[in-house]
Subunit: 107 residues, 2 copies
Amino acid sequence: MGITKSQIFTEHQNDLAQFFKVLGHPARVAILQYISNQNASICNDLVEEIGLAQATISQHLKELKSIGLLHGEVEGKSMCYCINVERWTDLQNQLNTFFNNTKSNCC
Amino acid sequence: MGITKSQIFTEHQNDLAQFFKVLGHPARVAILQYISNQNASICNDLVEEIGLAQATISQHLKELKSIGLLHGEVEGKSMCYCINVERWTDLQNQLNTFFNNTKSNCC
DNA sequence: ATTTAACATCGTAATATTGCAATATTAAAA
DNA sequence: TTTTAATATTGCAATATTACGATGTTAAAT
């Protein structure tokens, strides 16, 4: 069907999966890394750096914004995008909690 | 197009994104959590616990196996699935490295 | 040997995602 | 005011994902 049955999972499971999902595309990984190296970035730099069409980069930026990982500031005609460090750290902690709670031995 | 342009990204970016992607479905999060709580699990338990069809659970298990996170052992007619702790820890370290390297202040 | 139980795989329908061209929108520059 | 530059949005085509019924496969139980 292509539709995820979110109703049968907990809110936490859905949230966690949503975070992972947004990070689950190489363009979005690359965007985060590039912004981090530059300490900030305008969209046009990303288009040239990454090599996807402007519309496509814009879409990926939107998804990263949707989970609060990026925020953009208008700078004249440009947008300055940067990582929301507080959210970034929060997310890292959440993922580590998941990893630590899910470790187990077996078989 | 629906097709990711993997060629334009580094192997590391693609690998990282692939890990995130596999974890980016609530059913797979739920499977990992359940297996962890039980310390191991047979597929049929998961079908009852999670409430997806057997074929669907089997498919999700396959994806978790594809990144080495789970391994299954034949136990008579059943399969005993469990988390590959070594791989699990390795993955956690990789993700933390990514998070630590990608932190940045801005704007 | 048959049956049964537990999984895996296949085929398929429905929906989601990716990517881009075309077209807004917005603000500075001319 | 018109132009230009930078980004967002829309509309689509191609491919991927999710889910499940039906059908294999395998090993224990009868």
